[in-house]
């Protein structure tokens, strides 16, 4: 059927363009499933038919992703309803709470999670319509297609934020936000026919959604590894001749550990992007040295900005790594320069725009920026600027440095302290593997600074030595009041450190030096 008869843009257009350009190219590899762009398009049409007949006003997906993710993204778009992938790692109660916030959804669920949620009966009170993923896939293969196009300002994807500091918020990304992001940052059909991307970011994260859209648009085969395992990641790079991949910091750490055993070269890999949360510089430097032929990319973005808004390129990495000029060396810890379709401003707490070298809150503006939440509305200001709540600085050359969330700022004796300042110093100490710095209530200072350190393997560090290490680099008021040791830091699936859990854990534990 002709799916092009519409006057407005939908993310479905990205699949249309990819299909008309090269219908027989392999677009998706996921376990035993291999789909060409035409097969993906046909399944999305059939899936849209199933969704349309369900008369649901939204589609929710609970599962590990793989081929189901691009299929459900495009099937929902073609049926003209919003799509919400939900974090399958949440508790049964957590999942049901999120589903209850969606308007009359059709729930598509991997069989293993259906069992965890108590089967169809267990979900009956939460969602009226539930279908198991394999059945949806099988039925999409021979369903009568439907294709109804959405208004560009209508919502294409709704994602729940991870809620590390508060209750999850439902971020609404419109078709226009998402297509603007993809067409503004990716050159259509620019990938070589032999290019392949290895995707191991979770489906419920903005990076999972953007990976499905961007790689399809670039013409790059998508190889899915839904459950991350470093050995399997390395094996798939070789087996599928993967040329690019995106990982979160915790994955990079585990991959580097495998590579340090020296058995793998990753011969086909040209481009390795990392992001999702801050990466310690020692880890970046180890990765650069282990993989001299790979171009590293640090991508910075938020759910509310439809993924990437700034990029530290492979050239930036190599230049900074080999530089003697301290200003250039420092850039290895930046998130690079904003992408061309994004404007940035750093503002102080009164809203005044700050100049290079000054620290304040990052504001961003562009077509890809949503800044809208279900039940809250838009938080953009009158000129369309979005307050990211990230504390940042721009250097003289426009490189952006992000030092963390404003919510995480420690206020000790009236002085504002970004945890990243201390973390960046501590992680450079050879006895430190990971570190998170948090503020805890303190009768004298308001908040006291606690450094929670995961020691390097086989080391039992001296807390005084670590405090002294910080005191040498930073002002005395920025020295940790306490240093405590842990075997690991609590993180979510994308490597974000769960600071609230650390603070609660410290509150529960007796004070220790």
């Amino acid at each position: 059927m002709d799916t092009t008869e519409s006057a407005s843009v939908s993310i479905s257009l990205l699949l249309e363009m990819a299909t008309s350009n090269d219908p027989d190219r392999t677009a998706v590899v996921s376990g035993d499933v291999r789909l060409t762009t035409q097969q993906l398009s046909d399944l999305a049409d059939g899936g849209a038919g199933l969704i349309a007949r369900s008369q649901a006003s939204q589609v929710a997906y609970i599962g590990i992703g793989g081929a189901m993710l691009p299929l459900l993204i495009f099937a929902s778009a073609r049926a003209g309803v919003a799509f919400t992938p939900i974090n399958y790692r949440l508790s049964a109660e957590g999942i049901k709470t999120l589903i209850a916030r969606l308007p009359d959804p059709l729930v598509v669920i991997d069989r293993r999670y259906l069992d965890e949620l108590g089967g169809l009966d267990g979900l009956a009170g939460t969602a009226k319509q539930v279908v198991v993923s394999d059945e949806f896939l099988a039925q999409a293969g021979d369903a009568e297609p439907a294709a109804e196009f959405a208004d560009p300002d209508s919502v294409g994807i709704v994602l729940f934020t991870s809620g590390t500091t508060s209750q999850p918020k439902a971020v609404e990304l419109t078709h226009n936000n998402l297509t603007s992001y993809v067409t503004g940052t990716v050159e259509f059909g620019s990938a070589e026919p032999t290019d392949a991307a290895l995707i191991c970011v979770p489906p419920y994260h903005i990076a999972g959604v953007s990976a499905a859209l961007s790689n399809l648009y670039a013409g790059r085969k998508m190889v899915y590894l839904p459950v991350f395992d470093p050995e399997e990641w390395v094996r798939l790079i070789d087996a599928e001749h993967v040329t690019s991949a995106t990982v979160v910091p915790t994955m990079l750490d585990r991959i580097v550990t495998v590579l340090e055993r020296g058995e793998h070269q990753l011969a086909s890999l040209r481009n390795l992007a990392y992001g999702g949360s801050k990466v310690g510089l020692p880890l970046v430097r180890r990765a650069l040295e282990l993989l001299p032929g790979v171009g590293f990319v640090n991508a910075y973005g938020l759910t509310e900005t439809s993924s990437t808004i700034a990029v530290l390129t492979p050239d930036d990495h190599r230049e900074a790594h080999g530089a003697s000029d301290p200003a250039v060396v420092r850039r290895l810890g930046s998130v690079g320069q904003p992408v061309p379709s994004i404007e940035v401003q750093i503002r102080d707490e009164n809203g005044a725009v700050l100049g290079p070298g000054e620290t304040g809150e990052l504001f961003v503006r562009g077509e890809q920026v949503s800044g809208r939440y279900t039940g809250i509305g838009s938080v953009l200001d009158a000129e369309g600027w979005f307050p990211t709540k990230d504390i940042a600085t721009l250097d003289e050359d426009g490189y952006l440095f992000v030092s963390g969330r404003s919510d995480d700022t420690i206020i000790r004796g009236g002085e504002n302290i970004a945890p990243a300042e201390l973390e960046d110093v501590l992680v450079e100490h050879p006895h430190v593997r990971h570190v998170a710095v948090v503020g805890v209530e303190d009768p004298q200072w308001g908040q006291a600074i606690v450094a929670v350190v995961v020691p390097a393997a086989g080391i039992d560090p001296d807390p005084e030595e670590l405090r002294e290490h910080v005191r040498k680099s930073l002002r005395g008021s920025r020295t940790p009041d306490r240093v405590v040791f842990r075997d690991e830091l609590p993180t979510n699936a994308t490597g974000k450190v769960l600071r609230r859990e650390i603070v609660e854990d410290l509150r529960a534990a007796p004070a220790e030096q």
Partner: protein, 98 residues
């Protein structure tokens, strides 16, 4: 002014575009010598040989006022505002980050 995200089609060739950045100038957007129309609208006329250099799939075209369209289906006509052809936007490619 045309809304960003609007899809338009040539009346005289296969070209289709979406409006990436709108401007007043796009009110007179033409392809192959004839005004572009909304997708699905009635079409008439023939390709003007003076505007038959073609449009390239997936490429962005701009005019000097900052208007920008993206070709979503290639065709034989030249994209123009009035009689002035749009120019191909050369973008510095970004590294893959997804």
């Amino acid at each position: 002014m045309i809304k960003n995200g609007t899809r338009l089609a040539s009346q005289v060739c296969d070209t289709q575009v979406i409006v990436v950045r709108s401007a007043e100038s796009l009110d007179d957007l033409r392809c192959g010598g004839a005004p572009m129309v909304e997708l699905g609208a009635e079409r008439s006329g023939e390709l003007d040989p003076a505007f038959a250099d073609g449009s390239v799939m997936g490429k962005r075209y701009v005019d000097e006022t900052g208007a920008e369209v993206l070709v979503t289906k290639a065709g034989a006509g030249t994209l123009a505002v009035g009689e002035t052809a749009l120019s191909l936007k050369e973008a510095k490619p970004l590294p893959a980050s997804d």
